[in-house]
Amino acid sequence: MKSFLANKTPYFFIAPAIILLSLFSILPIFVALFISFTDLDLVGIADWSSISFVGLENYKEVVSDPIFVKSILNTLFYVVIGVPLVIILSLAIALLINFGKARIFKAFRVVFYMPSITNVVAVAVVWSYLYNPHLGLFNHILNLLNLPDVPWLQDPIMAKISLILLALWRAIGLNMIIFLAALQGIPKTYYEAAQLDGANNWKQLTKITIPLLRYAIFFVSITTMIGWLQFFEEPFVMTNGGPLDSTTSVALFIYRNGFQFSNFGYAAAGSFILFIAIIIITLIQFKIQNKQQDY
């Protein structure tokens, strides 16, 4: 206590952030936890006395809901395909841009970053035209090459891949910037030493650059993973979960139950399962990271 009083000043500075954070981020999470044990619906919101406690009923029901199970599988599909692709592509692009010395490469940063700052709804509208089976540019190009139409958003598997392509295009920019910053933080002396020892470009990349980007890769993989686990906007705007619920993500499932059907308790139970899954997966990643040796 004494030390707390002596060191009041830092708490004073972080107080606004802490208060806002707990009021609008942490408190709602606890409220949602409470809601997940109740049968809260619209009537309950208007009149709190009509809410009744149902224990684990919502959880039991949600894990046996076939659409929820399907949405988990879909989300895993997004994560398993999407996360490695984002890391590999954004790293590759960052390396290329970093490698290039001409002025034009500065412009490329903007080109790749642009999708990240564009409104997702506007993007989705344009892409749904690109994917359009009848008028779409993609199918038009395929036809010009004498290839058959691809059912971009109409086939259950293809629709997932199409959404991944779109989200990938959006995600590359931000992660590329992170990688670029990390790349420029690597001291030039390492490369000079390696060159004196006769290491070629490939050796320099695999023995110096990639190992030293370890923290950046770790950061990108965790944030991307969480992002993909909460994949929402793209299926919401482009496919609304179809065809045959094949693009429904967990977040979309939660949204639909909460805000379309006003089943708040049920939706909160689903969101808690997602919350716990994200925490577990993140902890596993931290564990793996800790095991690796440090440079």
Binding site: F24, S25, P28, L42, P133, I226, F261
Partner: protein
């Protein structure tokens, strides 16, 4: 690192936080909204309008203000897809508009939450609100249990839109009158060649199958009982699926309906509501004289769906009298005719239908005729959930080739489970 991670959590941890925030915002209520405020001695009422109509609503509110100079109407336009969320917040915080436009299918949900004022004892003071002024089907959508929670504003009903020239080539001088004729016409039109179809069936349109089932004599839902696996309903689904099966309706065309309707007529027939009249006239003026509307083809009946919007007074309003005055004004037949001129919405007021425009316009006349045979979707709280469940099962049928009877058995069970809650 961990701080950055927390940013991700707090930024995007969507649903849990959103639901939580909703409740918290309810608890924190009192810091928002200016309902009940007065401006220059005028009472201010807030009106929430939704979708396209809301853009024209201020014009008619001006006319109302001219007649009632002591009231100032503030219109807020809300897109339909955000309206539900916004109303939820209003209910939770008990702070909202004074008058709100309600889609007919939302009435039971918000009425059960006691968010809409009971208007049943107001008809003496405001005779405009009385039930006998409106079509019975519309009145049905304003009732919840023994309360009247809204007043019909405008209605829409579905009719058949078709290309007269193309149907004539296919041997139909008049619109198809029965299910069999519609089927036959669609097939003949489909035979015109590749990339040409007979009819458009909107698979996101939840009321279509329910409407056809009713034409086949299905009761749909009665109390907690669902009739979705009875032959009447199953036959309707089979009939609808038939169009996909023989290719006379495309599954994924990806074309805007007007684009497909004009020119060669990729889709020369479709079923839709009154708003399409203006859209076709605006976007395909060259089609004039080549298309028409007709009442729906019949099986046992040709019952159509009755939709539209109602106006309700928000339960927690502080300007009850002013809000009711606005409702009464909007329900007058003259106002409704004016509204028709402004937006092409069909009046719910029966008297307004005697207006020349509606009587002489060939398109509107058809809607009037169809209104005699139109029923709203079941006015029950979980209807949205049941309808969504149906749509996903129907998708399994037309896309995945699932067995219709089996799907409908499962659907019936699920629906009864939802109903008994």
């Amino acid at each position: 690192m961990s701080k950055n991670m927390f940013n991700v959590f707090s930024k995007k941890f969507a649903a849990a936080a959103m639901v939580g925030t909703l409740v918290v915002s309810g608890a924190l209520a009192g810091c928002s909204s200016d309902s009940g405020s007065e401006k220059d001695g005028k009472k201010v009422i807030n009106v929430w309008g939704m979708g396209e109509e809301a853009k024209t609503l201020p014009k008619i509110a001006e006319e109302f203000e001219k007649e009632n100079p002591e009231i100032d109407v503030k219109v807020q336009a809300i897109p339909w897809d955000q309206a539900h969320d916004k109303l939820l917040t209003a209910v939770a915080s008990k702070k909202g508009p004074d008058v709100v436009q309600m889609g007919t299918t939302w009435i039971p949900e918000f009425a059960s939450a006691n968010a809409l004022m009971d208007l049943s004892d107001q008809t003496e003071k405001y005779p405009e609100l009385a039930a006998e002024n409106f079509y019975d089907g519309s009145i049905e959508t304003t009732k919840y249990e023994d309360k009247v929670v809204g007043v019909p504003w405008y209605v829409d009903t579905r009719v058949l839109f078709y290309r007269t020239d193309l149907l004539e080539e296919a041997g139909y001088k008049e619109a198809p009158k029965t299910w069999d004729e519609l089927r036959d016409a669609a097939k003949k039109l489909n035979d015109r060649g590749d990339d040409k179809y007979g009819i458009s069936i909107d698979t996101n349109e939840q009321s279509l199958s329910f409407m056809l089932a009713r034409q086949n004599g299905s009761k749909l839902i009665e109390g907690n009982e669902a009739y979705f696996n009875e032959p009447e309903f199953v036959e309707a689904v089979e009939y609808l699926n038939g169009f996909f099966k023989d290719g006379s309706a495309p599954v994924d065309l990806g074309l805007d309906i007007v684009q497909a309707f004009k020119g060669d007529g990729i889709l020369p027939m479709f079923i839709s509501g009154p708003w399409m009249v203006k859209i076709i006239n605006d976007q395909a003026p060259e089609l004039e004289g080549k298309w028409a509307t007709a009442v729906l083809p019949a099986k046992e009946t040709n019952t159509s769906t009755l939709g539209g919007s109602n106006l309700s007074v928000f339960e927690h309003t502080k300007n009850k009298e002013e809000a009711l005055k606005f409702l009464a004004y909007m329900s007058k037949s003259e106002t409704q005719v004016k509204w028709l001129e402004m937006t092409n919405s069909l009046p719910a007021n029966k008297e307004a239908w005697n207006d020349k425009q509606l009587q002489e316009n060939q398109y509107y006349k058809v809607f009037g005729e169809q209104m005699e045979n139109a029923q709203p979707m079941p006015v029950i709280k979980p209807f949205e959930k049941i309808a969504q469940d149906f749509l996903s099962r129907f998708e399994k049928i037309y896309r995945g080739g699932a067995d219709i009877q089996e799907e409908m058995d499962a659907f019936d069970q699920e629906a009864e489970k939802i109903l008994s809650k």
